[in-house]
């Protein structure tokens, strides 16, 4: 599976929600690799589940599992009040 690398996107222009965006991205980066890659494709690149499956070669079932588990983990970490 090809790995997306969020580090290669280096945004440059300011906007009001920058700090929150960076915080959420930092939490995404801390996720286990399989979840992280799937969530990056879903939320950063805006792909749908079927598109992620086609791009990565994973089965739709695996993508679905990664999405659900990754989202649950991300929700828990964001609610964990680590900010």
């Amino acid at each position: 599976m090809e790995q997306l690398d969020p580090d290669t996107s280096v945004p440059t222009a300011a906007s009001p929600n920058d700090e929150e965006a960076w915080f959420v991205l930092a939490e995404v980066r801390r996720l286990p690799e399989a979840y992280r890659e799937t969530l990056v494709l879903r939320f950063v690149e805006g792909l749908t589940g079927p598109e992620i499956a086609e791009l990565t070669g994973l089965t739709p079932g695996s993508v679905r599992v990664n999405l659900h588990r990754g989202v649950e983990l991300l929700r828990a970490r964001l609610k964990g009040g680590t900010r």
């Binding site: 090809e2 790995q3 997306l4 690398d5 969020p6 290669t8 996107s9 280096v10 945004p11 440059t12 222009a13 300011a14 906007s15 929600n17 920058d18 700090e19 929150e20 965006a21 960076w22 915080f23 959420v24 991205l25 995404v28 990056v40 879903r42 939320f43 950063v44 690149e45 805006g46 749908t48 589940g49 079927p50 791009l55 070669g57 079932g61 679905r64 599992v65 999405l67 659900h68 588990r69 989202v71 991300l74 929700r75």
Partner: protein
Amino acid sequence: MEPDRNPYLWDRTGAPDPELQRWEQLLGRFSREAPGLAFPARAGRTSKRWHYWLAAAACLLMAVGVGLRFAWQPGRDWRVVALSGAPRIDNLPIAAHGRIGVGGLLETDGLSRAKLRLGLMGVIEIEPNTRVRLIATRAGRHKIALESGTIAARLWAPPATLSVVTPSATAIDLGCAFTVQADAQGSGLLRVTSGWVQFQLDDRKAIVPAGAAALTRPGVGPGTPFYEDASSAFRSALERLDFGESGYGDAGALGLVLSESRPKDILSLLSLFRRLPPSARGMLFDRASQLIPPPAGLTREEAIAGTNVPGMDAWWKKLGLGDAKNWLVDWRDVFR
């Protein structure tokens, strides 16, 4: 498989999930297609001496950065960025980014280009119709094979950090920027744009400085370094010497090289001293002496016999080409 309890997460159908929509809004800015956003600003009072703290932090970061820059886990994958088209790693296309492991093959077709990132030490651009294989990677020693095509490398690292193996010679960086071409028959061309590169096959070596080039042929190895703005007669005669049937015994080709040489072409003449038989070195010495006189203490006999290495080194220094590149001072090269 888990139940599809959130269709919006799967394909954005069904009832929108506000939290997911928020993440889409926030993280979508990091997409390559997005205009982007800034690193978060820190609120707080600004000290009048903030610049001192900034300078101190910069120094600390530089010190740590230089130390960490060259750290490298053995066998670590290299990052690949698609610059255009759809480059392939091990026969699979990459959309935008990917990674290549030891033994992996990166290929571009006629419409694609890619970039290999060697950590913070440098970049290697892969031009169209090129095949590159990652052979080895560990701290301080990285090796790729250019099977065919063209690559352009820029490095900010100690000498010999990167080796590029082509079918007929290996280019070893000495702190530099360079391009290497290899055709399907195994012939190749090295062009150095900054610093120095050692081009070699076994004991046959060419040390090529910035602005110069060297050819290579399968089964023979690298030819003599030369400047590409030399006359075509000079270049073709030099090619005859390096790769012709008569080799360095071709008196006609040697005569043309000597008569066509300009002052800057003394680079080629001094490089030929090790290649020509002693019987031909006298003419070489005489012509090179006309272009740039040898240093005091180096006699014609010593140059022919090859017995005064310090004297020859001093002659080389008179060319003003500098020593092997000071990569630490010329750090800006990596950003060019």
